[in-house]
Every structure is written in C-alpha cells, then in structure tokens.
C-alpha cells in the first residue's frame, strides 16, 4: 500500500468519525435541563464539604480546648489540694500547741497546789 492510499484511508476514517450527526429534537431541551440541574447538584456537595470541614475544625478545637481546660483544672486542683493539706497540718499543729499550753497551765496549777497546801 502506497503512502497516498494510506492517507486517503485515514482521511476517510476521520470524515466518518467526524461526520455531523443529528442529535434529535429532544437534545437541546435535555441539554438545557441538564445544564440547569448541574450547578445545583455540584453546589450541594461543596457546601456540605465546607460544613464538614468546619465541623472537623470545631471538633478538633473543642478537643484541644477541653484538654487545655482539663489540664488547667487539674493543676489548680493540685495547688488547692496541696494548700488545703498544708493548712490542715498547720491547724492541727496550732491546736496541739494550744492544748499543750493548757496542759502546762493545768500541770503548773497541780504542782503549785500541794506546795500551797503544805505551807498553810
């Protein structure tokens, strides 16, 4: 087969493939309807995707915030607990100290009484 024949056959195939085809009368309205429907169909997933992104971001932010707040609460609770423990031990120390003061006062009186009695 010569080059010329090959070119003709290729040209013929292209003509056949690219021949004008009548799409029919219903094509235009169908196309218009599809075009009209298309933006609505694509807009909905875009909004959903945006909302989902915000939701994910919000959830992540909430989790981070919750972790930070829980940590702060724990630190504060720890400080309060240590301070309460310190105050408790200080209160018990003062109480015992004053009970001992009472004991010494009572004991001094006990010691003084026989001396007074024997001297009378």
């Amino acid at each position: 087969m010569s080059d010329n024949q090959e070119n003709e056959q290729l040209e013929q195939r292209l003509r056949t493939a690219l021949r004008a085809v009548d799409p029919g009368e219903a094509f235009a309205p169908r196309l218009m309807a599809r075009i009209a429907a298309e933006p609505a169909r694509t807009a909905r997933p875009a909004r959903a995707a945006t909302a989902a992104s915000w939701l994910a971001f919000g959830l992540a932010a909430s989790v981070v915030l919750a972790v930070i707040l829980a940590h702060q609460w724990q630190v504060r609770r720890l400080e309060q607990g240590r301070e309460a423990r310190r105050q408790l031990l200080e209160a018990l120390r003062v109480t015992d100290e004053k009970l001992n003061l009472a004991y010494r006062a009572v004991n001094a009186r006990e010691g003084a009484a026989p001396a007074q009695h024997s001297g009378a």
Binding site: A84, E90, R109
Partner: protein, 190 residues
C-alpha cells in the same frame, strides 16, 4: 491561777468519752469569728485558716494512706466538718483588741457549750479556755481560746475529734514535740 481540770489525760478524758461516736455537727459548734484582717498587718505572725467540709475533703485526698502519719491524720479528720484557726503574734504587749477575743468567749456561754478547761494566770496574763460543744451527749465541736500578752489564738473545730489521736501525731508534720510529760519522762503519764 484557776483551773477546771488537771493533767493531760484527765483533760482529755471527758472529751474522749463524749467523742466516742461521730455526731452531726450542730450549727452551734461553729463559732462566729470576727474579722481579724486588720490585725494581720500589725502582727508579726498570723495564721488564718478556714477549712470547711469540702476543703477538709480536698486535704484528705492529698494525704497518702500508705504513709502511717498521713493515714493517722486522715482518720483524725474523718469526723470533722470544719477547722477554723485564727492566731496572731505581736511584738508588743496587748497590741490586739481584747474585746474581739471576749466577743468569741461570750459565744461559749450559749447552751450546748461545756467548759472543759479554764486557766487564768493573772501573773503572766495568760488565759486558756477549752470548751466542748455537746449535742445529745455527743461532742460535736471544740473551741480553744488562748490569750497571752503578745499572742492570741482561737481554734474552732466542728465535728468529733479524737484529741488523743492528735496528741499521737506530735513530732510529725511540724506538730511540736517535747512539751508533755510523756516526752519529758520518756513514759506515759498515768
């Protein structure tokens, strides 16, 4: 000096007998303490402690039960509803308004409070009052008021406290040791 009782154990005995069981704290056991804030600036040392039920619970949570001393403290405060301490030390004699201390002492004249110890040493101007609040035969509160020329202390414990247990904690947590005959003689006082 006048006294209403004698000896450490005799001092504790009536209270121990009364504190056999834990009682619900009657409101009467909680004293109304004046606002001593102004005194804190004048005092060389001051202690202002207010531990209510929730703070006592919080403090108890920070006591290690596996540590014997902490465990003993935990047991000691188990029946308590509150501990309130006001203590001020000054560098001059009688720098505090005695009227405010008297105001607290007067509250102990109310029914329900029973005097356990009262000593008044006119020579060194030291007065010690220990009162116990009793409700239906059960001790549910304790008040200690001591006044000295340069120091006064008010302790109000609401709830049932075992003072013998407190005494056993001596030498721990900074609770002073060496003041009682047990410590001085090396054997318990009979």
């Amino acid at each position: 000096m006048k006294t209403g009782c004698s000896g450490w154990h005799r001092l504790l005995a009536p209270l121990l007998a009364l504190s056999a069981s834990v009682a619900l704290a009657a409101p009467a056991a909680l004293l109304s303490l004046p606002d001593f804030d102004a005194l804190a600036a004048k005092a060389t040392e001051s202690v202002n402690i207010s531990l209510d039920t929730s703070l006592l619970g919080l403090a108890a949570g920070f006591l290690d039960s596996s540590n014997p001393d902490d465990a003993a403290t935990k047991e000691l405060i188990a029946g308590l509803k509150g501990i309130y301490v006001r203590s001020f030390t000054f560098d001059q004699d009688f720098a505090y308004p005695e009227a405010q201390v008297e105001q607290v002492r007067r509250q102990l004249a109310a029914p329900g409070w029973q005097r356990l110890v009262q000593t008044n040493n006119t020579k060194d101007h030291t007065r010690v009052d220990i009162y116990v609040s009793v409700d239906r035969g059960v001790a549910n509160g304790l008040a200690i008021i001591t006044s000295e020329p340069r120091e006064f202390t008010i302790v109000n414990i609401v709830g049932s406290i075992d003072l013998a247990r407190l005494h056993r904690l001596e030498g721990k947590f900074g609770i002073p040791k060496g003041l009682t005959p047990e410590d001085q003689d090396g054997k318990p006082q009979k």
